[in-house]
Symmetry: C2
Subunit: 361 residues, 2 copies
């Protein structure tokens, strides 16, 4: 197995993933879209939702747990509030349909919410929030996921590290784009600490009995803690309610992981679009967002060489840089993709752009 | 100054506060409403937003920083998205008008959002979220406040410990009711730790230079840290955008504290109502909320004698108990209220219900 970080061109990853999705039964346009979503995550530095997820998606599509050609349709609601059945489809396609419907309804009503039931893993919530921004609207996107978060004092998980994204048009270089989960830390951060042999803060994770742990290796056998204790727990409950309980899907501990079950996850989402230009003229909005960004960036830091960033700025810069320089893949990922390619008999191949950037691990 | 916790009947506090508001120029119905809001906070255990705020409200009403007889009116928007000008009115009255308007519009459209500009401190955000629940809707209420929260690595505050509340009808004994601010800890928690001579977690507060501190007394001279680091900071920015930036009011560091300025604060709010019964029949919603509550309460705890609570449950129990037994007031509060009563020449007086409950401090 390769132990080096290798650089691959975004376009090569894109073609590879698109062919894999097609081979798994997804039609051409949707396959291209799903591939773009994965590669965009890698471009933006959200590797945990990038190309490394391709094998599990393909496996679930081929196994029938995810419907490759879903026909999402509205099943209840009226006016600016609807629920869509995702037809057990791939979350990227269902989530896009739901946010586009929310944008359409917000165009009529000013604000709209479209809940989704019977979907599947939809990747980074930020995709859908930023989709609303492409239509000059504020976007809010949420999903529920299987329960991995232990309440303060609890012994077992009670809610998911549910993702929440909010994006706001700036009419400038990049939008405000917050994209987070409601756990204190992500699996990626635990992995990094484990690799470096560092301890983690005691409010990030627990052991398998729910006891807070500072050892990231113990945390891998355990669970997450909620963002900021009971406040983040409460917010995660809100997402359980909006994505699952009111849409008619499973909620809380009823959800199963796509990694542990071969059945559909029946994931729920909630997409909200706000047609902000109804209440603020575009030029005024642009000016205020520029002032807001400038104010954040001018905020004095304790370390004068440190840089305060607007939510979404780091991901935007990374995307610009990686579009030019290529995407670094963690050791092993390229091998796994090559194996997937052989298994599917893909014509696309992945060759590193250049020699190893630096060794790792 | 009295050093004892004294118990006062809710009705007595209510009458006292209502007369004080009337004397400060508020009309009879609004005065009764504002008084009820303050006493309800004490009943629910949110003492930081209870009767102890009466003196500052009265001072600002009499000083003209807050308009005692506001005429809130819609100034922009259409359909299900509007902005209301609060006419520099007392936040309780303006906030109620905005949420009632959101409920009205959600009745037409299914979901609605009413932003508010030119308002003032509106107390606990939960009031407005629960107001939507009285109309069988999901309520979301937010406000911006003056900047008191330092970004990770920052030296000075950049956003407020902005409050966010979400309430969901359960059609049972009490609604789901989350009511929080986006700082890691409240001033009340710092005060408690200082009184007990305890240290505080390093991610709660900073000194006056933005350096994290474990000493609550140092923290009083400093600032708050955001809930869960950059995630809570990002959420607080979202509230700055929704409450201030898009409504036309001040945002971020532009806001001033009602304690440090004699001018109107021009506070902004955002009220969202969701007519959930459009997508879930009432009995189904009731059954699912009961199942959700039961699932949360059945979550195993590490300490088997510990109790897992649903958001809003503790406040509800406390309210039931305090309505029966009276409200304990912290040492000094009764003296301050008595002084306010003399200053305003109130006929209402506050006598402790019984002898001291227990000594404190």
């Amino acid at each position: 197995m390769s132990r080096e970080v290798l650089i691959v061109e975004a376009a090569a990853l894109d073609a590879f993933a698109a062919e894999a999705f097609r081979r798994a039964g997804v039609d051409e346009a949707d396959a291209a879209y799903c591939a773009r979503c994965l590669v965009e995550a890698d471009l933006r530095g959200v590797e945990s939702h990038g190309i490394l997820r391709l094998p599990i998606y393909v496996r679930r599509l081929r196994g029938g747990a995810v419907n490759a050609r879903p026909r999402p349709k509205t099943v209840s609601g009226a006016g600016a509030l609807e629920v869509m059945d995702g037809d057990a489809g791939i979350g990227y396609v269902v989530g896009r349909a739901a946010m586009l419907r929310a944008v359409e309804l917000a165009g009529e009503h000013g604000i709209a919410a479209v809940g989704v039931t019977n979907s599947s893993h939809f990747g980074p919530a930020g995709i859908y929030a930023r989709l609303a921004v492409e239509h000059d609207m504020i976007g809010v996107a949420m999903s529920n996921v299987d329960a991995k978060v232990v309440a303060p004092g609890g012994r077992l998980p009670i809610t998911g590290n549910n993702p929440l994204a909010v994006a706001v048009p700036s009419f400038g270089e990049f939008p405000f784009a917050l994209d987070m989960s409601l756990s204190a830390a992500s699996g990626g951060k635990l992995l990094l600490a484990a690799k470096k042999g560092e301890t983690i803060p005691l409010d990030w994770a627990t052991d398998a009995e729910g006891r807070p742990t500072g050892d990231p290796r113990v945390a891998f056998e355990g669970f997450y803690q909620p963002l900021g204790g009971i406040k983040g727990l409460g917010l995660s409950f809100v997402l359980d309610i909006l994505c699952g309980l009111v849409t008619g899907g499973p909620f809380g501990r009823q959800l199963e992981s796509m990694y542990s079950s071969a059945a559909p996850t029946r994931t729920g989402h909630m997409m909200i679009a706000i047609d902000v230009l109804r209440i603020v003229p575009r030029e005024l909005m642009k000016g205020r967002m520029a002032a807001f960004f400038a104010d954040i960036k001018a905020s004095p830091m304790r370390d004068p060489s440190a840089d305060m960033r607007v939510p979404g700025e780091r991901a935007y810069s990374k995307e610009m840089q990686r579009r030019a320089d290529g995407i670094p893949l963690a050791p092993g990922v390229l091998d796994e993709l090559a194996e997937l390619g052989r298994e599917l008999g893909l014509t696309a191949t992945l060759a590193p752009k250049a020699g190893p950037a630096h060794t790792s691990g």
